[in-house]
Symmetry: C2
Subunit: 147 residues, 2 copies
């Protein structure tokens, strides 16, 4: 289990609430992944494979080195969760797709990762809107949301 990020002594109540929320989110994600024999990185990669996508493209999206992707994909492929197929037009490139196994497993993972769903479900429609608005406002300019 990864160690909880974030300051122990948050200055304000709101900061503390953010930290607790982020920590809970991260832990829930990791727990759900482990329940299905996936690491965080593996679950994350598997989740991106909704469309055919190249290694390079994936590395760029995740903001990491291409060689990192190579090894993560190799492990997923060894478990028949993912397959590499040649790119039709560019023979350097490999298109990655989930196998039926991979799709099934990822669906099960998402089912386990009820955190966000469950969190939202505790709020009224109006509160959900408020929360989304506040989070976006708090985020805006602090760091760009994931592209």
């Amino acid at each position: 289990m990864a160690v909880p990020t974030g300051p122990v002594t948050a200055s304000t109540d709101a900061e503390r609430a953010m930290f607790d929320f982020v920590d809970a989110y991260d832990r829930a994600y990791e727990t759900a992944a482990l329940e299905h024999g996936l690491s965080v990185a593996q679950a994350c990669v598997l989740g991106r494979l909704t469309r055919q996508i190249g290694m390079r493209e994936l590395a760029d999206e995740l903001g990491c080195d291409a060689s990192n992707i190579t090894q993560i994909i190799r492990r997923l492929e060894a478990r028949d969760l993912v397959r590499r197929r040649p790119h039709p037009d560019d023979r350097r490139s490999r298109q990655i797709v989930r196998t039926p196994n991979g799709t099934t497993l990822y669906a099960a993972f998402e089912e386990s990762f009820e955190f966000a769903r469950s969190a939202v479900a505790k709020l009224s429609a109006r509160e959900q809107d408020q929360l989304a608005t506040l989070l976006r406002k708090a985020l805006n300019g602090t760091r760009e949301p994931n592209s």
Copy 2:
């Protein structure tokens, strides 16, 4: 850089906002740590050392194996950021304390990690309260906040 956790296709707008927020938070934390030559785990451990604390205690707080702490502390100690002193009453135990170096570096790290501060600063006092309340309400029962 760690890979972004979270679903790419969040079902609702609120879920999407949560994911973006958590992702931004985690990335900001890691970036700030790296700026000071710390890993995420190292920054986290260093941040917990506001009081004298034993290895076991630290491992329990972080929810990881004691041997994990041993090696993280060893690396911090090698950089003179942390020191291990014998427990006055229990000779099995080691009390960990930050060195002046460690305290200085951690302060610099917290200065760099402006994410939470900056996020809060974008909201009015009333909005801050609202956000904290909504986050806690969304969290409640989903997963216990960090003890």
